[in-house]
C-alpha cells in the first residue's frame, strides 16, 4: 500500500492490519446488534469454536483454512438455528452443544495436522500483523456482503428479532431471515478471525453494542454508534499494540471492553440512564 499515514500506520504491514481491522471493527457490531437484541449474544462465540474446527480441518487437509472455517461456521449456524426454531434445544443449550463440539473437534483435528504451516495459535488469537493483501481483499469482500445485506434486509431482520411470532403471522419469511442472520454471523466470524482470533471474535461483535446501547435511543443509532466504537477500538488497539509491543487482537478487545467500562460508569455516575416512568416493566 505505502500510503503516507502517521505513526504507527507508516509501515505496509500496519496499513494492511488497519484496513482489515477497520472493516471487521465496523461490520462485527452490525451483526452483533441483531444477536444481542435476540438475546443470543454468545452465538458468535459458539460459531467461533466451530470455525476453529474448520480451521483445523483446513490445516489437516492443506486447504486455505478460511474456506473450511466458513463451511463449518455456516453449517453450524444453520444447524443451531434449526435446533432453536424446532424447539429441540433451547437457544443457549444448542449453542453449548456446538461450542464444545467445535472446540473438541478442533483439538482432535489439529493434533493430526503436522504440516509446516499447521499452527493453530495464530487463528486462535489472531495474527493481524501478518495479513497479506489477499487476506485484506477477502475481508473487504466479506464486509461488503455484510453491509449490503444489512442495508437490504436490516428492517426485516429487526422485525424478526423483535417479535418472531408477529413477524410470522404478518407473513414475513421468518425462516429465510433467520438463516440469513445465521449466515451473516458466520461470515462476520470468518472475516474477523484473522484480526482477533476465533476465541475473541465474538467480543468485537458484542462489546461495541453493549456500549452503544447505553448511548443510543434508536436501533439505527445503536448500529451506527456500535460500528464507530468497533472501528475506533481497532485503531486505538493497533496503536497501543505497536507502542507497547502487545498482542494486537487482545489489545483491540481490551480497548472495546474499556470503552464499555467508561460509558457504563459515566451513565451510572450521571444517573442519566433509566429514570423509568411509573409502570415500566423494568427493562
Amino acid at each position: 500500500m505505502g500510503l503516507p499515514l502517521p505513526w504507527p500506520f507508516d509501515r505496509d504491514y500496519m496499513q494492511l492490519a488497519l484496513a482489515a481491522g477497520l472493516v471487521v471493527g465496523a461490520c462485527g457490531p452490525l451483526i452483533g446488534a441483531f444477536l444481542v437484541q435476540r438475546r443470543l449474544a454468545l452465538m458468535g462465540d459458539g460459531l467461533g469454536h466451530l470455525a476453529f474446527a474448520g480451521i483445523a480441518a483446513g490445516l489437516l487437509l492443506a486447504v486455505w483454512p478460511v474456506w473450511t472455517a466458513m463451511i463449518a461456521a455456516v453449517g453450524g449456524a444453520i444447524a443451531i438455528e434449526w435446533l432453536r426454531s424446532r424447539g429441540r434445544a433451547s437457544g443457549d443449550l444448542a449453542l453449548a452443544l456446538f461450542f464444545y463440539g467445535g472446540l473438541a473437534g478442533g483439538a482432535v483435528l489439529s493434533s493430526r495436522a503436522t504440516g509446516a504451516d499447521a499452527n493453530v495459535v495464530p487463528w486462535l488469537f489472531g495474527s493481524i500483523l501478518t495479513v497479506e493483501p489477499g487476506d485484506v481483499w477477502t475481508v473487504v469482500a466479506l464486509g461488503g456482503f455484510v453491509v449490503a445485506s444489512v442495508a437490504l434486509a436490516g428492517r426485516a431482520l429487526l422485525a424478526v428479532v423483535l417479535d418472531e411470532e408477529a413477524a410470522r403471522v404478518a407473513g414475513l419469511p421468518v425462516d429465510v431471515l433467520n438463516a440469513l442472520l445465521a449466515v451473516l454471523a458466520s461470515v462476520t466470524i470468518v472475516a474477523a478471525m484473522r484480526v482477533v482470533g476465533v476465541l475473541l471474535v465474538a467480543a468485537l461483535m458484542v462489546l461495541p453494542v453493549a456500549s452503544a446501547r447505553l448511548l443510543a435511543r434508536s436501533f439505527r443509532t445503536t448500529l451506527l454508534a456500535a460500528s464507530a466504537i468497533g472501528a475506533g477500538s481497532v485503531v486505538a488497539g493497533l496503536w497501543l499494540a505497536r507502542r507497547f509491543a502487545l498482542a494486537p487482537g487482545g489489545t483491540i478487545v481490551l480497548v472495546a471492553a474499556a470503552v464499555f467500562a467508561v460509558v457504563a460508569s459515566a451513565r451510572t455516575g450521571s444517573g442519566a440512564h433509566s429514570p423509568a416512568p411509573p409502570g415500566t416493566t423494568g427493562r
Binding site: 437484541q37 428492517r155 422485525a159 411470532e165 408477529a166 413477524a167 404478518a170 435511543r217 436501533f219 411509573p278
Partner: protein
C-alpha cells in the same frame, strides 16, 4: 360455517373455525369449536384461564395445526394465505423491547414490512400509514422515544400501532388490556372503534376482561373448551352478566362455568 347472527343479514366471513379440536397429549383443550368473524364485526372471545383461548387463537393464526376441523382466513387456510398483511396481530405484551434500544417509530414501521415487501425501502405511503397508526393510538409525540422508557400501557399501544400500520382487514388481539391503566384502556378502545367504524375492519379480541370496549362489541363468544355462548352483549346482559368497565360479573361468571 355458521351464518352470522347479525339481524339475519349474511356477512362475509373473514375468519372461521369449523369444528376445531385440539389436545396437548392426553389433555383435551378444544372440543369441536365453531365460530366465525364477519367483515366489519367487533367480536370478543372470552373465557376463564385455561379455557383454550390462546390455543384457539394460535390455531386460527396458523401457528398451530388443529387435531381435527379446519380454519379459514379470507377463505384460505392460514398457512396458504398469500396476503398475510390482511391480518394484523397484537400479541400479549412482552416483546416490544429487547436488549438494544429501539424507538416507537422503528417498532411500528416493522408492521408495514409484509405489506410493501420486506426488501423494499419505505415510501410515502408507508410513512403515512405509520403516522396514521401512531396518531390512532395517541403516540405521535413519543415516536422518537425508546420503547424501553414507556409505561406498560404505552408499550401495548405500540404493538397495536404496529398491527394498524399494515392497514389490516382483520385485527386479532391477545389479552391486550391485561394490567393496563384506565387512560390507556380508553385510548385502546378509541383506536379499535376507529378501526371498525372508519376502516370497516373486523376485530377479534381475546381477553378475560372486556373493560372499556364492552359497549362497542357486536358479539361475545364465551369459550370453555367448547363454545358455551355466542351472541350479542345484550343477550349476555339478559342472563344477568354485566360487562361494564369495573364490572366484576364477567370474570366471576366465567369462573363459575365449570
Amino acid at each position: 360455517m355458521q351464518a352470522a347472527p347479525t339481524g339475519g343479514r349474511a356477512i362475509d366471513q373473514v375468519l372461521t373455525a369449523d369444528a376445531v379440536s385440539f389436545a396437548y397429549g392426553a389433555h383435551p383443550v378444544l372440543d369441536r369449536v365453531t365460530l366465525g368473524v364477519g367483515s366489519g364485526e367487533f367480536v370478543a372471545l372470552v373465557g376463564p384461564n385455561g379455557s383454550g383461548k390462546s390455543t384457539l387463537l394460535r390455531i386460527m393464526l396458523g401457528l398451530l395445526r388443529p387435531a381435527s376441523g379446519s380454519v379459514r382466513i379470507f377463505g384460505e387456510s392460514p398457512r396458504h394465505l398469500e396476503e398475510r398483511w390482511r391480518v394484523g396481530y397484537v400479541p400479549q405484551r412482552s416483546s416490544a423491547a429487547g436488549d438494544v434500544p429501539v424507538t416507537v417509530e422503528e417498532v411500528v414501521a416493522t408492521g408495514r414490512l409484509a405489506r410493501r415487501g420486506w426488501w423494499r425501502r419505505p415510501g410515502p405511503a408507508d410513512r403515512a400509514a405509520v403516522d396514521h397508526a401512531l396518531s390512532a393510538v395517541a403516540l405521535s409525540d413519543l415516536r422518537h422515544h425508546p420503547v424501553r422508557a414507556l409505561s406498560g400501557g404505552q408499550e401495548q399501544r405500540v404493538l397495536i400501532a404496529r398491527a394498524l400500520a399494515g392497514d389490516p382487514e382483520l385485527l386479532v388481539l391477545d389479552e391486550p388490556v391485561a394490567g393496563v391503566d384506565a387512560e390507556s384502556q380508553r385510548l385502546f378502545r378509541d383506536s379499535l372503534v376507529h378501526l371498525v367504524r372508519e376502516h370497516r375492519a373486523a376485530v377479534l379480541l381475546v381477553s378475560h376482561e372486556l373493560g372499556a370496549v364492552a359497549d362497542d362489541l357486536d358479539r361475545i363468544v364465551v369459550l370453555r373448551h367448547r363454545v358455551v355462548f355466542d351472541g350479542p352483549p345484550s343477550e349476555l346482559a339478559r342472563r344477568g352478566v354485566s360487562l361494564g368497565v369495573h364490572a366484576e360479573d364477567l370474570p366471576l361468571w366465567l369462573e363459575g362455568l365449570r
